[in-house]
């Protein structure tokens, strides 16, 4: 376990060999034959004249049609689940959060369980220096979400690989309790959503003085007195309380929080990206922190460049051309497309709806050759504010309902940040004269609060309070195809302020 790199032979293999290795794994996993039995692919492939056995390399694979989350939803709704899975029997199921419609249920096979366990161990080797202390408090979202099960891969990983980590999990509602444990046990790693971690840091700063005074009232020792005095004079930071030295953060853009996390916790944040559909291919930043390594041995990654996505928007019948990720030039942005070698549900050319940017395909300073990417945002209509996610079309419906104090002619949601926290600013161009502008603004803000979880999130300090502003003219942004873009992300949303 005290390895610097989990599997040096694979992770540091020169890229051309890695590309070859990945295609061998693709062939040997025989996923094409297994996948061809599933209604998720069967008819579409038959129509396209695909002969699964003949798909043996990336050049063959790239001729296959794409698969989407929508395809998966339809297949799950219309077919027997036993027909859908590509293995003899599913071991268990995880569910997606269902933000863009119904939940997708992802079957996990025995081999998947073992592969994820190894992938998890590898991720931690990438994120942690053993010398820093391999102990972790992991905040998860309860079952049936992936987040809960993934922690146990790390636990069993300790048993299977004779690891020397020390782990503790807590479900989101139990976070503050568990943090108290982490403080006492001097846990060194923290894994959660970045906004959640910042909330903790702010809570500490607010409550530290109070806590110290309370402690002194309870027990009037000199130590407690000194602590109370210190707390009222000195700014207390999370780093004074916790011993975290590293963290793994995922679920929303991490960069806006990066320096604040470093500053308040004194930890080194690593960004992670993954999805319930392809947990073994989760991407993670190494200690060099120059992009997230994409584990090429567990998947065949591609991307659809933005120009191709634009062509598709103009003409829905247009089939965009993807390029293999290992051939992408740094800076290229596009939709991430993945082919996995999973047992229970292999994804074949699966469009993730996530926009990524290629950072580099050169060998990283850490020695690894897995290409590095950055995650931008969703290419579909989902607005991601960490725990809070909604479809921009839900907001569109709300805008159309407006009427008590006035109506909306044009609108646009700007995604920005206020003290690092995600903030939605709703720009509205009213229809005609508005008699009571303040009442109209209040009504607009109430509409935003009606989106699931939004009100609770800003009241609890997880996001900034959304704001509505009336403007003379909303400058519409359109996609290349002329479609209105309702959600506009400002640069600050993804970057350090």
């Amino acid at each position: 376990m005290s390895k610097r790199i989990w599997d040096e032979q694979v992770e540091c293999m020169p890229l051309p060999q890695l590309v070859e290795f990945c295609q061998v794994r693709f062939r040997e996993s025989r996923i094409m034959e297994r996948a061809a039995r599933s209604p998720l692919y069967r008819d579409k492939w038959a129509a396209a004249g695909v002969v699964p056995k003949q798909v043996r390399s990336y050049d063959d694979l790239r001729k296959l049609p794409f698969t989407t989350g929508g395809d998966l939803r339809v297949a799950q709704a219309e077919h027997d689940l036993d027909e859908l899975i590509c293995t003899e029997h599913p071991r268990f199921w995880v569910s997606t959060s269902g933000t863009s419609g119904s939940h997708k249920w992802i079957p996990v096979g025995d081999q998947d369980v073992l592969t994820f366990t190894e992938a998890t161990m590898r991720m931690f080797t990438m994120a942690v220096d053993v010398a820093e202390g391999w102990s972790l408090l992991l905040v998860n979202t309860p079952a049936p979400f992936l987040s809960e099960s993934s922690g146990y891969y790390a636990v069993i990983g300790q048993v299977l690989y004779d690891g020397d980590a020390e782990l503790a999990f807590c479900a989101l509602p139990e976070t503050f309790d568990a943090l108290d444990f982490a403080r006492k046990e001097e846990i060194k790693g923290f894994q959660s959503m970045p906004s959640m971690a910042m909330l903790v840091a702010e809570g500490v700063a607010e409550r530290a003085g109070e806590g110290a005074r309370e402690q002194f009232k309870k027990e009037r020792t000199v130590g407690n007195l000194l602590r109370a005095v210190a707390a009222s004079v000195l700014p207390i930071k999370a780093s004074n309380i916790f011993k975290f030295r590293w963290g793994i953060f995922a679920g929303e853009p991490v960069d806006p929080y990066r320096s604040a996390l470093k500053e308040s916790f004194g930890l080194r944040p690593a960004t992670a990206y993954g999805a319930s559909e392809f947990p073994a291919s989760a991407c993670l930043e190494c200690k060099v922190q120059d992009g997230l390594h994409l584990p090429m041995d567990n998947c065949l990654p591609e991307m659809i460049p933005q120009e191709e996505l634009a062509k598709e928007e103009v003409d829905a019948a247009y089939v965009p051309q993807a390029i293999p990720l290992w051939e992408a030039t740094p800076g290229l942005t596009g939709e991430f497309v993945i082919t996995t070698f999973s047992e229970a549900l292999p994804l074949i050319r699966y469009r993730t709806s996530d926009l990524i940017m290629v950072v580099s395909t050169d060998r990283c300073e850490c020695g690894r050759t897995f290409p590095r990417i950055k995650i931008r945002h969703r290419s579909d209509d989902i607005v991601n504010m960490g725990l809070i996610r909604f479809s921009i079309y839900q907001l569109k419906d709300k805008m159309e309902e407006m009427g008590t104090h006035g109506q909306v002619a044009k609108w646009q949601l700007r995604l920005t940040r206020e003290n690092r926290k995600a903030k939605g600013v709703l720009l509205v161009q009213p229809k005609g004269e508005i008699a009571d502008q303040q009442a109209f603004i209040t009504e607009l803000e109430e509409k935003m609060d009606e989106l699931k979880g939004v009100k609770q999130a800003w009241e609890n300090g997880l996001i900034a309070k959304p704001e509505a502003r009336l403007v003379d003219e909303v400058v519409e942004k359109r996609t290349m195809s002329g479609k209105i873009r309702y959600a506009i992300y400002e640069d600050v949303y993804f970057e350090e302020a």
Partner: protein, 360 residues
């Protein structure tokens, strides 16, 4: 990974004569140097020192019976006062915790070896409850950091690596009922076995009906294949009849605590839960002794070994376990139990049986 060792050894351990089991427990207490190891934990070190207990090799069960009891309050006190890292006797691979009791919860370390034992005990749950190949288990899981949160996942690994029953799990939490459609999904998978807290099972009745698009359908009408239920976390008896009526399943009571995943389970004879004598040394503090202690806190209550207790005896369950990261030494569980029998059970197993009546 090692075989799921002691929880499965020796073969046929579930049917060994009771006297042999008592001897096996004693042997593991001695050879495992349980007391010497426990003495390195902050939970025992100072208290034993104050009580004048000499930390030395304990050679028998009767010597064990002379050691002081340990309580939940001791755990909370020690965890509050001394650094957490002085608590485990061996490196912790994972920490679980109890529900919070007032302002505190107890954090319990598990070593890799302890996890393996937990997994081994899970396999033992499969026999008395007659699980079959390809059973589909709906597991309504409490949230982390509870020990029971780990149970379905450890069970998955156990079955992949060891028992190979090809069990399928659908895992859902009460917390996420509003944000997930797992009741609907459960209808599609048609489980054969339900594992949950009894009160959660009853609370779910309306959610399953709603998921099925009806207002009053009972789970027994919605889950045709549902055969058995394994219930943990609270006494089953107050809920048992309602669960049988609504779910139409055979309920099995199961007892475990965060401090030790003993997984004592009811068998098909439904005459108490088998307490595994080869992984613990169970004792009972009879009610009269508890009453005396209540009247006079200085009174040191006497306990009887479970295998020597008469049927019908009621009192507090006390456990000594052979764990690696935290062996429990005469740990007062705070659970009131009744001894239902120590003679061999109709199911063929010889481990003594108790009924768990609730918290003291």
């Amino acid at each position: 990974m090692d075989k799921l060792n002691i929880a499965l050894q020796p073969p046929g351990v579930e049917q060994l004569p009771l006297a042999d089991l008592a001897q096996l427990g004693e042997q593991r207490l001695v050879e495992g140097k349980v007391i010497e190891r426990a003495g390195t934990s902050s939970l025992y070190a100072k208290r034993w020192n104050r009580a004048g207990v000499e930390v030395k090799a304990v050679l028998s069960r009767s010597e064990l019976a002379q050691l002081p009891f340990t309580s939940a309050a001791d755990v909370i006190e020690v965890q509050k006062r001394s650094p957490m890292r002085q608590f485990p006797c061996a490196p912790a691979a994972v920490w679980f915790a109890t529900d919070s009791q007032g302002e505190s919860r107890k954090w319990i370390p598990y070593s890799k070896q302890d996890l393996v034992q937990y997994m081994g005990l899970l396999t033992r749950l499969e026999r008395p409850t007659a699980l079959k190949e390809r059973d589909v288990i709906l597991f309504v899981v409490p949230m982390a950091p509870r020990t029971t949160n780990a149970m379905p996942y450890l069970w998955i690994f156990t079955d992949i690596l060891e028992t190979k029953l090809k069990l399928e799990f659908v895992i859902g939490s009460m917390f996420l009922l509003g944000a997930s459609n797992w009741p609907e999904f459960t209808l599609r998978r048609q489980p054969t076995v339900l594992v949950s807290r009894p009160s959660d099972a009853l609370a779910l009745v309306e959610h399953f009906a709603k998921a099925a698009g009806t207002s009053d359908a009972q789970p027994k009408e919605l889950f045709n294949r549902l055969r058995a239920g394994i219930f943990f976390g609270e006494p089953l008896s107050p809920f048992s009849q309602a669960i049988q009526e609504t779910y139409g399943l055979e309920p099995f009571d199961c007892y475990l605590s965060a401090e030790f995943p003993s997984l004592s389970a009811e068998c098909s004879a439904h005459d108490g839960l088998h307490v595994w004598m080869d992984v613990s040394i169970p004792e009972i503090i009879p009610n009269e002794e508890l009453a005396r202690e209540k009247a006079n806190p200085q009174h040191k209550p006497a306990a009887v070994f479970l295998d020597q207790a008469p049927a019908g005896l009621e009192g507090e369950l006390v456990l000594t376990t052979f764990g690696e990261a935290l062996p429990l030494v005469r740990y007062r569980t705070g659970d009131r139990v009744r001894v239902t029998g120590t003679e061999p059970c109709g199911c063929g197993m010889t481990h003594p049986r108790i009924a768990v009546q609730g918290r003291l």
